[in-house]
Amino acid sequence: MIRSALLFCLFSLVYVLPVYAGDKLMLAAASDLRYALDEVILLFRQQHPTTDIHVVYGSSGKLSTQIRHGAPFDLFFSADSRFPELLYQDGHAVTVPQPYAVGHLVLWSPRQNMSEVELHQLKNMTFRRLAIAQPAHAPYGQRAKEALQTLGLWAELEPKLVYGENIAQTAQLVQSGGADIGIIALSLAKFPELAKQGYHLIPTDLHQPLTQAFVVTRHGADNLAAHHFSAFMKNPAALTVMQRFGFELPATLPAQD
């Protein structure tokens, strides 16, 4: 008797799942957008209060692979334009990749002010670990590697590198003390909790540009909310948020002051 009552309780717990009234929108986004996109979504919700939005953050390469394997994302915000381009070519995306921001790399640490430290000075500094994102599938990691290679530092620093699965995890590796210094996204270094110490902008001529683009996926092709959100990315309020987090707007978009 007690046992069946217990089972009943468990089952009813499991079946009381939330019921959604409006449309559902599932975004996949590069993790440099972790804080900026959350704010853009808040603004979008004010205009579309019934849309139920979820975001999954990760490295652009990982998310793009998940989309190829049928992950139910409606929109994909990449940290570069190559992954969306390939998805579009292979029929996994239904809209031409749309540039929405240009990202920047910074040298950052939560424990020491890095604002006066140039990337090439890492050579003469004493530290144990430098964190970058995984170059194989995270665009910010790839660009960090390029910048270190341009300066001829890669071979020397490689033994000191630790790799984050994506750029947010890279920041977390440094923040938690696992690494002393990190090469992370400007958009993350601008987040108030991480902006306690100074960061140093890495000159963009050291690496290929981080032109970021998004696409509507095949899964989201018929989801009206996906197209609404895609249009919203040109909304001045959304662009202002992006700029506040240090993103440059691509040449195709009007700059906001």
Partner: protein, 233 residues
């Protein structure tokens, strides 16, 4: 409400519900599938037995990523199972609750089968032979002999399966991604909170899981002792 509960967001509650649902379904399915399998393993002298034993124990030693990787290939839209489902007009199983449920069933299989095999062996064939001579049908034997005599084994198998599914991470991450309400279970959400540097939320959930896991294991070992004593008497 106590402070601990008010801090939890709706996303956290959703993950808690999803995790419980996954653990419960996995346990029920495995008790149904695992019992006949364990029965066969405890009795069989077939040459196949060693191979099946090894297969059942595989999830104990394989990295969960290996299991997750093959399941992703198999259940995804291009995989043998996933593409067949798509052709039938159904959805493929990668990044879905059904997908991670299949993953969990495989992943927790040894935790159901091994305690049951042990318990069936301890009982031995004798009680069933006696029951048969008294004219008990096979079904009767199951409900009147096996279930009561192996009660301890079943409870240990069920709790261990439940607890082990609670701790599942790698398979779900590979096969399910982190989709809220669908595949974002507690372990995955904690990973995500850490990455977002929401340490407070990561703490709440981690501590909750730690206490739950301890409680479950405490109960298992407590019951184990009781059943051992009963067996001696």
């Amino acid at each position: 409400m106590p402070e601990f509960l008010t801090i939890l967001s709706s996303q956290d509650w959703q993950a808690i519900q999803l995790t419980l649902k996954l653990c419960l379904y996995t346990t029920l399915i495995l008790l149904l599938l695992g019992t006949p399998l364990a029965w066969w393993l405890s009795l069989s002298h077939s040459k196949l037995r060693t191979a099946i034993q090894a297969i059942v124990a595989l999830p104990l030693v394989l990295p969960p990523t290996v299991l997750g990787f093959y399941l992703l290939l198999l259940l995804g839209p291009h995989g043998a199972i996933g593409s067949t489902l798509e052709q039938l007009g159904l959805n493929h199983l990668a990044f879905s609750f059904s997908g991670i449920l299949i993953g969990s069933v495989i992943y927790s299989l040894p935790f159901t089968v091994q305690p049951l095999v042990e318990s069936f062996r301890r009982m031995g064939p004798r009680p069933l032979e006696v029951a048969a001579t008294l004219g008990a049908s096979k079904l009767d034997q199951l409900f009147s002999v096996i279930l009561p005599l192996c009660r301890g084994g079943f409870i240990v198998a069920a709790t261990l399966t439940f607890a082990h599914t609670l701790g599942e991470f790698g398979v779900i991450l590979m096969l399910g991604g982190s989709i809220p309400g669908e595949t974002q279970v507690l372990s995955v959400l904690i990973y995500d909170h850490t990455e977002a540097m929401n340490y407070a939320q990561a703490h709440q959930l981690s501590l909750g899981l730690l206490i739950t896991a301890f409680a479950v294991l405490f109960i298992v070992y407590g019951l184990n002792r009781r059943f051992e004593r009963e067996a001696i008497l």
